[in-house]
């Protein structure tokens, strides 16, 4: 990967990487750190990475760093989210907010799988390469995550 190709990856995937990292970490500043670190690693290993594999490499690095950051700050992040009354006091009909709440309820791995699938449209085998899981594991973990989201949505509606 040459300099021009690296800069093209920055322009093309910086926003998507930020959204993924932001959802995974639950914190915007952490997400920026994840994005910066991901591109730093890509620059350091640019000679070994072809242009077409740049996106997958970036999300792979971002996934690992997001998981690590989330696990490191899980309690605090979770507390912040739990203390955020905006979510509880908002209208339950706001589906987007409900989904964000439901997503935060998932574990970091399941959340990452859902984000990779819904945000970036990766296939099972691609998600497996990024997360280091097998295709079967990706399928099972992802189905479980969707069921959890559905259950949360149903429970909220029931409360409404």
């Amino acid at each position: 990967m040459e300099l021009k190709e690296y800069n093209a990856c920055v322009h093309e995937w910086a926003d998507a990487l930020f959204r993924f990292a932001r959802k995974c970490t639950g914190h915007e500043e952490d997400a920026r750190d994840v994005v910066q670190n991901s591109f730093v690693v890509l620059w350091e290993k640019r000679k070994d990475i072809p242009k077409e594999k740049g996106k997958a490499f970036l999300f792979q690095v971002a996934y690992r760093q997001s998981i690590n950051l989330y696990r490191k700050n899980s309690r605090m992040t979770y507390k912040e989210e739990m203390d955020d009354d905006r979510v509880t006091r908002s209208s339950p009909t706001d589906l987007k907010q409900i989904l964000e709440k439901a997503l935060s309820q998932l574990d970091e791995q399941a959340r990452a799988l859902v984000l990779l699938k819904d945000y970036e449209g990766y296939r099972y085998d691609e998600i497996a390469k990024i997360t280091g899981l097998s295709d079967a594991q990706v399928k099972v973990y992802l189905h479980r995550a969707r069921k959890s989201l559905k259950q949360y949505l149903v429970s909220v509606e029931n409360l409404i």
Binding site: L3, Y6, N7, V10, H11, A14, D15, A16, L17, F18, R19, R22, R32, V35, Q36, F39, W43, L95, L99, A102, L103, V114, L115, K117, D118, Y119, G121, R123, Y124, L142, H143, R146, K147, L149, K150, L153, V154
Partner: protein, 302 residues
């Protein structure tokens, strides 16, 4: 097709459908089942509602901090290529200039070479002049050396002296070759005087110059008389102007080269060459001793 998706496994197919992992056949089977069973359709809609949609409003922002720039001007050896190119052009122009100047030299050299075809030594040149003079019967000075026998040729040094003297008028010559009337070994005496006085001295008392001046030899009285008898128009002194006049045509024959100075020099050389040629032709049987003053340099034997 319908058996593929049943009421027992429709939830799995729904999840696969949400993940876009079904093929066309499986998708049609699931939709068909959902159409037949409302609970399947409700389940399908519920899973579709929990599918996340990317928030395009959330962006990283300024990515300039992530971009990398090219290293500042990778200096290479030919960074100042313009300077090197200018220096190369100047050097080429200088080389062309010198080359052209060298090519123009042969023109002069050719003229000089023609003149230089004469013998290398001045002595030989004067001898050639003298021989040339002797071969020209049109000259007022009847050069007996050219026409007479070898014995007579030995007695002709007087005239060569005049030639030499005349020659000095036109061009300063450090050396004058005088062919003495010595029948055995004519000696060439070199004179270093270039002034006209020396010329007059050498010309006027022609015979005396031979004997008095610088040196060697002197013809015997008998030889002188024989020469005088055979050469009615002998007096060198009188012939001097004739010699000068006769020599002039020679000069006209000289090759003209570029510049007045070069032309005169070329003429002189040409003249000497001719005289040398004539002298050599006539002095085949005579030995010539070349001297400078009283010092004998070498003897040329033909």
């Amino acid at each position: 097709m319908e058996d593929m998706v049943t009421m027992k496994n429709y939830e799995e197919f729904i999840l696969l459908y949400i993940d876009n992992e079904l093929n066309a056949e499986e998708e049609q089977s699931l939709l068909a089942l959902a159409a037949q069973h409302p609970e399947v359709s409700a389940e399908l809609e519920l899973y579709q509602s929990v599918k996340l949609q990317p928030d395009t409003t959330a962006t990283y922002g300024d990515v300039s901090g992530l971009l990398k720039e090219e290293p500042a001007s990778k200096t290479i050896a030919f960074g100042n290529w313009k300077t090197y190119a200018a220096a190369a052009c100047v050097l080429l122009a200088v080389c062309i200039f010198f080359f052209n100047s060298n090519t123009s030299e042969p023109e002069i050299l050719t003229a000089q070479n023609t003149v230089d075809n004469r013998p290398a030594t001045p002595e030989q040149a004067t001898i050639a002049e003298e021989a040339d003079k002797h071969t020209q019967p049109s000259k007022a000075e009847p050069l007996p050396l050219a026409q007479e026998d070898t014995k007579q040729s030995q007695l002709r040094p007087k005239q060569p002296v005049a030639h030499i003297a005349m020659e000095t008028k036109k061009q300063p010559v450090k050396e004058q070759v005088v062919i003495t009337p010595d029948p055995v070994e004519p000696v060439i005496v070199k004179k270093e005087n270039t002034a006209e006085k020396t010329i007059a001295k050498t010309i006027a008392p022609k015979k005396e110059s031979i004997t008095n001046k610088d040196k060697p030899i002197v013809a015997t009285k008998k030889e002188l008389q024989s020469i005088a008898a055979e050469e009615p128009t002998k007096p060198v002194i009188e012939d001097e102007p004739v010699l000068a006049s006769t020599e002039e045509p020679k000069e006209k024959k000289l090759i003209s080269v570029s510049g007045p100075l070069n032309s005169s020099i070329a003429n002189i050389f040409k003249k000497k060459i001719e005289t040398a040629k004539n002298a050599t032709a006539q002095l085949k049987e005579t030995d010539v001793v070349v001297q400078i003053g009283k010092k004998e340099l070498f003897t040329v034997r033909f």
